[in-house]
Amino acid sequence: MQFIKNHPIWSALIVVAVLFIIILITSVSGRTTVAEDVIGTVVSPVESGVTAATGGIGEWFKGLFGQSQLQVENAELREQIAQLQAQIALLGDLRNENASLREIANFVEDNPSYDIITARVTAKNSSYWFDTFTINAGRSAGIAVDMVVMAPDGLVGRVIDVGANWSKVQSIIDSESSVSGMIERTRDIGVVRGSSESSAASGARCSMFYLPFDNDLVPGDAVLTSGLGGVFPRGLVIGEVIEVSRAEGSTDRVAMIEPAVDLSSLEEVMIITNASEVSK
């Protein structure tokens, strides 16, 4: 601490240099280091605890930003309403969890060929430039990099980093995400890419590129994974086309896609551990 106070400029330069080296190393290798593993192992349970403890608070926040009619309710009844809402929030949280688990159970029943591990979303990146989140299952539960992450409604993303008891998941709306997709009706194949920043501004969106110029896509067409690329098995629901336009400086068409999964309120996910075997 004394060194920092006596040599502030040198300290700042050293810190910047070290962080820059870390950025360079991780952006090139993309692998989890021992230090990252230790930090994740220590902090992840704290986040799991906070997530579990704040389920009720979350319902309150949803109410705050989604239901303006609460503001006009009678002042005399507010206290009573607040008490009732606390109970409702708790029940709502349990009901949502129950529904989510039931949907997962149905998905597992309908897809017996998949080996599935369920996990809870513990933390979410609040940045506009990344759409990644952490789940409470890691190496010890059999999770590995590039495993497919699903929700009962469709594809969520893939595992990009694994720690002892946590994993980092990149969702399909992350700007660096790229999935080979197929239009269910026309069988046209393209590449589905995310856009974190436009998703932050106007709701979750992906774009599908490299579609042939003579296709007849219409809003509402379902988009599935094509199975090309080896990571995602064929036939998983990605979302549906909401808009079709022409790519700048090209004859190719670009389709705007709304993901089938509501990625903003994801709580439970399924990890398919044998996706590559199913693809074959």
């Binding site: 502030p8 962080l19 950025i23 952006s27 990252e36 704290v46 608070i57 506009y128």
Partner: protein
């Protein structure tokens, strides 16, 4: 030791709140950036040393758990600490309106620095799509939240200083 423990708790609490409650339940436009709030408040009162270390610690945890490029959030928050620390003990730095403006500006600066770093590493980023609909309101909330945190931290550090002088 006590101070180290308090700072460690503050780091974990900030990251946990930001990545659980705020990131999941509060829409992006209404979401303040807690780390920026604390860094701005601490920098204005006590300079860049503590806020810089706090920023690096918060940033590294977020990077490890949630970012695809480790180090980017840490570097950005450290830069914010250096920038806001420049105003420490300047005559206007004790003004809460200035603290709010600093929090507002720091929120903007953080995203600008992040975008520059991402572009440096070959990512194409559409800054304009978030600037008005999301970043501007989020910066306002960050600035507003800076006021109570700044006021609280200023009070605590003045008390500590007074006690130290008395002893």
């Amino acid at each position: 030791m006590k101070r180290f423990l308090l700072w460690t708790l503050a780091v974990i609490a900030t990251v946990a709140l930001q990545t659980t409650v705020l990131a999941r339940y509060v829409p992006a436009a209404f979401r303040p950036e807690l780390a920026v709030v604390v860094i701005t408040a601490v920098s204005l009162v006590a300079g860049s040393t503590y806020s810089g270390l706090y920023g690096i610690a918060c940033g590294i945890i977020v990077d490890v758990l949630l970012s695809t490029i480790v180090g980017i959030e840490a570097l950005t928050l450290f830069f914010i600490a250096l920038a806001t620390g420049f105003f420490c003990r300047k005559y206007y730095a004790s003004n809460i309106v200035f603290a709010a403006l600093a929090g507002f500006a720091a929120r903007f600066l953080k995203e600008v620095v992040t975008v520059l770093l991402l572009m440096l590493f070959g990512r194409s980023v559409d800054f304009m799509s978030v600037l008005l609909p999301v970043l501007l309101p989020s910066a306002v909330f960050t600035g507003l939240l800076t006021i109570p945190v700044f006021w609280l931290y200023k009070g605590v550090s003045q008390n500590r200083l007074r006690r130290a002088r008395y002893e």
